[in-house]
């Protein structure tokens, strides 16, 4: 009998500690923008209070560690997951995310990839009760106080490449074009703070993206295509005039980030943070001011 009481006492103490821990990690009302160090690949988490937006999931399940350290332990819901384009270094970790978290909205084009792992992700999203949104230029996705303005791909571009735009399904069409060209470009904003996410777009597409007229002055840019010279061009910097640039990159055989890209950023005097050198890069903003967390 005494043992039983001991166990009950132990259980209650644990409950009390857990409650205190839960209160202690309750997030403040600020935007945290974390470029997760997931090796070669993209995974960027934006949080505001208990609202989360995850942009890409890296190649491996490393992203769930980043979610684990940057979300309160009791919050098991991610409001928006945006997949820029179906290549492994962007979606690879997402099936582990869907396995572990309830995702409200999944934003991705209906461009298909024949790889088995992407098909597994599609069926996982289908079985999870997550709403699917196929983004096109001009769309605004709101979650709490965070807004995602979709800049690319445009409806015309997708229709030209064979997407019938019947809407909100995954893996509906294939294209001979490089999947990078379909990368979702989005502007995340809170108050006066703007961050531009560029997936893996390259020079040709960047000009088309600029032509949409939706690129404007931002504070933060995720450099396209892991810093490849086949990514960033100066026109984009002219248009967006960012103050800080994040390069999501890890060990790779392509030579990313290329020296040309780094030189260009230096020329424009933009502060550069790299996930391969700096680990997780966290920026905090209250909607007016912003600073990089040391």
């Amino acid at each position: 009998m005494k043992k039983l009481w001991n166990n009950i006492f132990l259980g209650l103490s644990l409950a009390l500690i857990a409650v205190w821990m839960a209160v202690f990690v309750y997030p403040e009302k600020e935007l945290h923008l974390i470029a997760c160090d997931v090796g070669q690949g993209d995974a960027i988490l934006a949080t505001y209070g208990t609202t989360q937006i995850l942009i890409d999931g890296g190649a491996t399940n490393k992203v769930v560690e980043c979610l684990g350290t940057n979300m309160p332990f009791w919050d098991r819901k991610i409001e928006v997951v945006l997949l820029t384009h179906p290549q492994l270094d962007h979606y690879g970790g997402l099936s582990e995310v869907f396995r572990r978290y309830q995702v409200e909205q999944f934003v991705a084009t209906s461009l298909n990839s024949s790889s088995q792992s992407y098909q597994a992700l599609i069926s996982m999203v289908g079985g999870s009760g997550t709403g699917v949104i196929n983004p096109t230029t001009g769309m605004v996705i709101r979650s709490g106080l965070l807004y995602l303005d979709i800049v690319w791909p445009s409806g015309d571009f997708q229709a030209n490449e064979g997407d019938n735009l019947k809407g909100n399904i995954l893996g509906a069409f294939t294209s001979k074009r490089d999947p990078n060209d379909f990368s979702v470009v989005a502007n995340l904003r809170l108050g006066e703070f703007d961050a531009l996410f560029t997936g893996d777009i390259g020079p040709e597409i960047i000009n088309k993206v600029i032509a949409t007229g939706k690129i404007h002055d931002v504070e933060y840019i995720k450099i396209p295509h892991h810093g490849s010279k086949n990514g960033l061009i100066k026109e984009l910097l002219d248009e967006a005039s960012p103050e800080v640039a994040i390069i999501s990159v890890g060990k790779n055989s392509f030579g990313h980030p290329h020296q040309e890209t780094l030189d260009l950023l230096k020329e424009y005097d933009i502060q550069v943070k790299r996930t391969d050198k700096d680990g997780d890069v966290e920026l905090i903003s209250d909607g007016k001011n912003w600073w990089i967390k040391k």
């Binding site: 132990l10 259980g11 644990l14 409950a15 500690i17 857990a18 821990m21 839960a22 190649a59 491996t60 399940n61 490393k62 769930v64 560690e65 979610l67 684990g68 350290t69 979300m71 332990f73 009791w74 098991r76 582990e96 396995r99 572990r100 978290y101 309830q102 088995q116 792992s117 098909q119 597994a120």
Partner: protein, 352 residues
């Protein structure tokens, strides 16, 4: 009579080991049809399975689970099956296998990483989904044994079941029920060598108790080794099998002496320190020979964390089972383990 029996046992083991030697050699192209006998280890882009002692690396998708039926083709080379092709995969329909997967899912839905994997490892010996960096930290700090299937789990299940059953019924009926529970658990947890070892040993000890006969634990240890090698001769080269026996043997030989030597250590840490020191005496040389490393700090780390293992496993077990019926109840029970998993993760993070 007794010697004749022992001689016969040893002979049988030899015969089994020799006759079941795989009859393929390097360069052979082979096709294996089998049931996946233990949980595949998941890496970033591949999953590792072992078929008839051959390490086989297959792509991450389609996902293969413990209990699935597979047909694999490949070329034998140096203990590996190279350029393997998954010809067919038939997911297991067994209730137990599904229950196992469902319980792991409940942990993953309830807690962030690495806490969820820690619970899955503690309760079911599952390493699927364990973040690589955490796994490396566990190995480095000498605490990896906690998240792999080990005899400790079986002991916990057995003593938990006995503790509950003994209140409800006389000892004579409680023992067989507890044994059924232990064997169900060993199937649920992946039927790895260390679990089976503990289940057999436990069965021997319990049965001897029920029959009113005193049995030396060392005899039970050797006898269960014999039974296992007759049933699965390929386990002779299984690291888990070897470590499990060596660690148990060391515990039996040294634990009590060490415990009395370190009486100055505070209560909750003492048992963890004495058991890990005792086990290390036998295990450290093997680990050093196989991995070329072992941690001198390991007994200290173990002393700091081992006291959390029993409550975490029990809370995880109860939470997982309740979670099968109600997500929310399961989740709140599992939250109770969070302070303990946090301590564990924090300590391992410092030393790993």
């Amino acid at each position: 009579m007794r010697y004749l029996f022992r001689f016969f046992l040893v002979l049988l083991i030899f015969v089994r080991i020799i006759t079941t030697q795989p009859n393929f050699s390097d360069g052979d192209k082979i096709r294996i049809t089998t049931k996946v006998a233990s949980e595949p280890i998941k890496y970033d882009t591949s999953q590792r399975l072992v078929f008839y002692g051959l390490k086989t690396y297959l792509p991450n998708y389609p996902e293969i689970n413990y209990g699935d039926k597979v047909v694999v083709e490949g070329v034998v080379e140096d203990g590996k099956l190279v350029s393997p092709i998954l010809v067919s995969l038939e997911p297991s329909v067994g209730k137990l296998y599904k229950t196992r997967l469902n319980i792991i899912k409940i942990y993953q839905k309830s807690l962030p990483e690495p806490h969820a994997s820690l619970l899955a490892g503690l309760t079911l010996g599952s390493k699927a989904g364990l973040p690589t960096s955490f796994w490396n930290a566990l190995k480095k700090s000498g605490t990896a044994h906690v998240v792999v299937a080990s005899g400790m789990n079986v002991t916990l299940v057995a003593s938990f079941l006995m503790g509950v059953l003994i209140v409800l019924m006389p000892r004579r009926s409680a023992i067989p029920l507890a044994l059924i529970g232990v064997w169900l658990y060993s199937l649920l947890s992946g039927f790895d060598a260390p679990i089976v070892r503990a289940a057999i040993m436990g069965s021997i000890v319990f049965t001897a108790q029920a029959l009113g006969r005193l049995q030396a634990a060392s005899k039970a240890l050797f006898f269960s080794a014999a039974i296992m090698l007759i049933a699965r001769p390929d386990w002779i080269s299984d690291l888990g099998f070897i470590l499990s026996f060596v660690a148990t043997g060391s515990l039996m030989l040294f634990e009590r002496k060490i415990a009395s030597l370190i009486r100055f250590v505070p209560g909750i840490f003492r048992e963890g320190l004495s058991t890990s020191l005792a086990a290390q005496i036998g295990v450290a040389p093997i680990l050093y020979l196989t991995f070329g490393q072992f941690s001198l700090l390991s007994p200290i780390v173990n002393a700091l964390v081992l006291w959390t293992v029993a409550p975490m496993t029990i809370i995880g077990g109860i939470g997982g089972i309740l979670g099968l019926f109600s997500d929310i109840i399961g989740k709140y029970v599992i939250f109770l383990a969070y302070p303990l998993t946090s301590w564990f993760v924090w300590v391992v993070g410092i030393f790993g």
